[in-house]
Subunit: 244 residues, 2 copies
């Protein structure tokens, strides 16, 4: 255990930098603020450090423990709420083979990105691959929306055109979601190994990606034709769920 | 058209008060900030007033038009972004018979409430009834999440125990979502007229409400057993969708 009291401490400055995506990408580390997510990160073996308020008992026995002042925790925290303990965890983007995959094409809302990761996990998907334009899954809001699914799923960036080709070469069918020229979901027989592409909140999946897909599918709706992308992902994940 | 320049103007104070749920409830009015939602509210006939910046052309020809200063728009707006036009709309909680219904039991996140309303509309549900503990569907984040579905669906508050009894008396089956003692969704034959209860993000549907249901259903998952309530609602709405 190390005790840190100065806001000018180099470690404090480093942790604070992790509020920015650039620093998270560079160092492969991210901040966790909720107790149950800190505990899940610890159980998943990705928690590196735990910062806790002087006088508190650490939530978990992280590899590195730092006793800190309230000012330091406030500085490192990205949220308004005053967390008494903050975790620093390492990204672990690949855990297993990639057979049941979501591709996210510029999904920009961090809540949507996190919720899709959570849902993917619940229906036995193993992988979520994000285009560069997506919200960072390691930002605070996204992490919270994953409810910890992020710590055990394959979650990584990729060039989606290349990923589609690779998956197709491996014999895994790729389905693009589209409102036009698409087969209704209820006419599809879901394969166990499959890839589903979800698109940007305003624009959907890019045409150039749709043209690479094995099939375009649409979710049959009643006129209003408006679904949040995470909801569309949930309906598709359920339709393609892994049966035990 | 009326021109308003003073932040102390009584109307400005009144509009600003609508940022609070209490005032929205009292006056049956709410604020809309996005252009496409203002246009949809106008088309749905619920837009009462439009506040626009001096020099701008009003988005729509609202019944009452007010030319305002930037300071006034900033004061009335509930968001950080500077909107050049703001709509004031009237609540219109009931539009049609209530046959395809979602009941929300203390769903607390405004994004979830709004997304459920949007999804309900897309799958031909006509009604969303909220318990008192739910997030206000007329708050800014919820309205944005509805994408305008709020303007044409029945969206109202109710005592859920009483609502369940009324619906059952009308012969409409009531399904509660539950992880325990529940029939898997894929074993249910969805009725056209149906009620689905969704629960609080942390605690699910209250036991006292579940005990009133005709049937408890669960969404079959793969171990992780963790779904955002709006995602669960989306999967159920799709399963119970109205076929054209």
């Amino acid at each position: 255990m190390e005790k840190i009291t100065s806001l000018q401490n180099a470690k404090v400055k480093f942790w604070t930098s992790l509020k920015d995506k650039k620093s998270r990408d560079l160092h492969g580390l991210f901040i966790i603020e909720e107790r149950h997510l800190i505990e899940e990160a610890f159980n998943a073996g990705v928690l590196e450090s735990l910062l806790y308020l002087t006088g508190d008992t650490p939530y978990v026995n992280a590899p590195e423990l730092y006793e800190c002042t309230e000012g330091i925790l406030k500085k490192v925290s990205g949220t308004v709420s005053q967390n008494r303990q903050i975790g620093i965890a390492k990204k672990n983007p690949v855990h297993s083979e990639e057979n049941r995959v979501f591709l996210l094409d510029e999904v920009q809302d961090p809540g949507n990105v996190g919720t899709i990761i959570r849902t993917a996990k619940s229906f036995g998907f193993d992988t979520v691959i994000l285009s560069e334009g997506c919200a960072d899954p390691y930002g605070h809001k996204a992490i919270r929306s994953t409810q910890g699914a992020l710590f055990s799923l394959n979650v990584r960036y990729g060039n989606l055109s290349e990923e589609i080709q690779t998956l197709k070469n491996r014999g895994i069918p790729v389905y693009g979601t589209s409102l036009k020229d698409a087969v209704p979901l209820d006419e599809i027989t879901p394969a166990e190994h499959a890839t589903i592409i979800l698109g940007n909140e305003g624009n959907g999946v890019k045409q150039e990606l749709l043209s690479l897909c094995d099939q375009k599918i649409r979710i049959p709706m009643e006129g209003f034709e408006s679904l949040n992308v995470a909801i569309a992902g949930g309906i598709l994940a359920y339709a393609f769920r892994k049966h035990q």
